[in-house]
Symmetry: C2
Subunit: 102 residues, 2 copies
Amino acid sequence: MVVADDLFKALADPTRRTILDELTEKSGQTLFEICSRLSMKHQLRISRQGVSQHLAVLEAAGLVETRREGRYKFHDLNTAPLRQITERWLVPDAPGAQESAP
Amino acid sequence: MVVADDLFKALADPTRRTILDELTEKSGQTLFEICSRLSMKHQLRISRQGVSQHLAVLEAAGLVETRREGRYKFHDLNTAPLRQITERWLVPDAPGAQESAP
DNA sequence: TTGATAGGCAAGTAGTTACTTGCCTATCCT
DNA sequence: AGGATAGGCAAGTAACTACTTGCCTATCAA
């Protein structure tokens, strides 16, 4: 998978995970709306540009999709890329696959 | 969740994800076995100590569990913590929750 | 006991990343 | 037009992280 690195890097930051939380609660928010939510609900003192950069990382990971309408840019959540995480490390066999010394 | 940060930080590194791949293929490997697999199969030129530090991070995230037997330390995969990732960002309602300008 | 194997601890370094500040463009509403 | 709103670009900084090197401890086999 080409975007695996982008995906995991995007999830590595706690502020970005909070942004995903907020977009889960209400998808289609603008940058300013996300900014005010982070400030109000989560006491995150972060600049608008900081949030914008986080959103760019999330978009590169495919977790956020954007659409422009006039001067507004709406951010929508896309949880589809998360599936590859659990699919990647499925235990192949039955439990009890212990090993002896090499 | 207390370990959420540890979990996502652990998954953020590509070498650690490869280690999880190898432990998926064969659980219960020693440090040296993991080292040689990373070197042979993935051409990763990384020191033993580097791998050891990666395993410590994975263990802090709960993704790897260890057991000692004599001078050997076996590393077992535990994929249970991965579940909270997909469970966290489930879309709550039906699709079509679009928004107008604020 | 001696040597080899398996692993741990600690400090230093180079590269990455999150964040800010300053300035600029585009759209909308009187 | 003019001001306000929404957002973008770029450079600089401070903190973090992956990695190495050097040395040390513990277990096993001869």
